[in-house]
Amino acid sequence: MAVLLWGLPADRPLADAHEELLRLGVAPFLLDQRDLLDTEVVLRMGAGGMTGWLRVGGRRLPLRDVTAFYPRPYDSRRLPAVAAEGPASPAWRHALAVEEALWTFAELTPALVVNRPSAMVGNNSKLWQLEQIRAHGFLVPPTLATTSPDQVRAFWAEQGELIFKSLSGVRSRVTRLRPDQAGRLDDVAWCPTQFQRRIKGRDHRVHVVGEQVFACEVRSEADDYRYAAHQSLADAELRAAELPAAVARRCRTLAAAMGLLVAGIDLRRTPRGAWYCFEVNPSPAYSYYEQCTGQPICAAIARLLATGDRAAWSP
């Protein structure tokens, strides 16, 4: 029986989960991405299901022993040992092969996985994800995706204040569209761009871990509280919060429907008490919120991994 962690030891959520598992008496198998060139993965798929093993240096792990898997890898091609060799090099090809094998294992293993790739890919298309969010009863901002500058101008006139942000899983800063940017709107013809009505209110980051819900209220004047410094504003203030029961239940249902055992859900409560949902992060960097609020998010994730009991956590 083994809990497999995959990523960089410097990644705070991964490091915290590792430490918490040790505290629970579980010694996880940490697959350090920096050992990539010395990593070997073999998968076999046949009538009897999937078997295989993972080897890093002198350590070997039969994959059938894995009861829980927490993959949080960075892009392997950016690892110094790979990037220095460049595309099409043996190191580059090996990095892609290891990633593909491990993500395939993550998808197909009967072990508990936080989270499976098929559950995480919804984040690749924010509009797709927004449709799912809306289908589960949350308000979402009226949204336009377009290459038409005229459509943006009409939407702006209709909705009042707008923000724009990326459509894909590429991390971007939520930015308010300002009058001095009107002259640049013709640039949207080069690439579809997402615009949303700016919803006024108080941000809440909600972490769902199985059945548990940890809500955090964020006080910030910034358009995107993660980047308050970019607007020369004070850092966001975070504190633990209680969600209305119906909203908490909706968060649990949404995460479960998306197949996510752990999720970071971005909500905003308007002054009139309406709850909007913007995004669901399938691999949340929860440590920042835990540090600010003291909420035991990591302990919950570690317990989930340690039990490896997916059924017990499926709402």
Binding site: L108, N124, E131, A145, G169, T193
Partner: protein, 246 residues
């Protein structure tokens, strides 16, 4: 109008579009360059349960502004937009623009009211995006005979797949298989495609006989033959749409 979504170097897509054009009326190839033209739009309403807002939805296909209601069907032959598709975008921006175009197109194709082969997912514009080993797993789970597949990632000695040298391919298009495959293999191929939600699927077996084992599958189906174009036309026909809706 039928649209074939394809990369700029996909000559087979152009061939398919020409055949569809002759068989079923106007057919055009939609490429990444079309997504860098003013005219695309799509909306999401804010309220749960509100009907999708259609006003202003539009696309640009082969340089022409198109209302989605004019589209009778789509065939998707590319998993994503890649940087190499975007020579007209500044080099530093290509990776970002490729990701944004892919994300937009996945949603836009998914929203279309007409049939699309294969329906996109956020993982892949042309279907489920499963690796061959996942198709083998699904086939095994459905009780089909499978040949054990091995995937090894070892520095300098990676093996992508352990396939037979000359697999027999059974191609699924809609609800039929092309060619003269053994009925037992055709039945397995159709069931496997249905399980993966794929209207286009090439299923590989280790032989031509009824006892042949599944060795893999993929969505990169060869649609350059006249038979394939006819099958695509049938799968996208109004009758097929009614059957799907029913």
């Amino acid at each position: 109008m039928l649209v074939v979504v394809a990369g700029p170097r996909d000559d087979g897509a152009r061939e398919l579009a020409a055949r569809l054009d002759a068989l079923a009326g106007p057919a055009r190839v939609l490429g990444a360059h079309d997504l860098a033209v003013a005219g695309w739009s799509g909306w999401i309403e804010g309220r749960p349960g509100a009907a999708a807002r259609r006003r202003g939805m539009a696309a640009v296909v082969a340089g022409e502004l198109v209302d989605p209601d004019q589209l009778a069907g789509g065939v998707v032959r590319t998993p994503c937009v890649v940087e190499q598709d975007l020579p007209f975008i500044a080099a530093d921006d290509r990776a970002y623009v490729a990701a944004e175009m892919t994300a937009f197109l996945a949603w836009w194709l998914w929203r279309l009211p007409c049939p699309v082969l294969n329906p996109p997912t956020p993982a892949c514009l042309c279907g489920p995006g499963w690796p061959p080993i996942q198709w083998v797993q699904r086939a095994a789970a459905m009780g089909m005979p499978v040949r054990t597949m091995r995937r090894r990632a070892r520095f300098g000695r990676s093996e992508l797949h352990h396939l037979v040298d000359s697999p027999v391919t059974v191609t699924v298009v809609g609800r039929r298989c092309l060619g003269d495959a053994d009925p037992a293999l055709a039945d397995r191929a159709l069931r496997l495609a249905a399980a993966g939600g794929a209207g286009l699927l090439a299923v590989q077996f280790d032989g031509p006989g009824r006892d042949a084992r599944v060795v893999g599958a993929h969505v990169w189906v060869d649609l350059t033959s006249a038979e394939a174009a006819e099958a695509v036309t049938a799968a996208l026909s109004p009758r097929a749409r009614r059957r799907r809706a029913g």
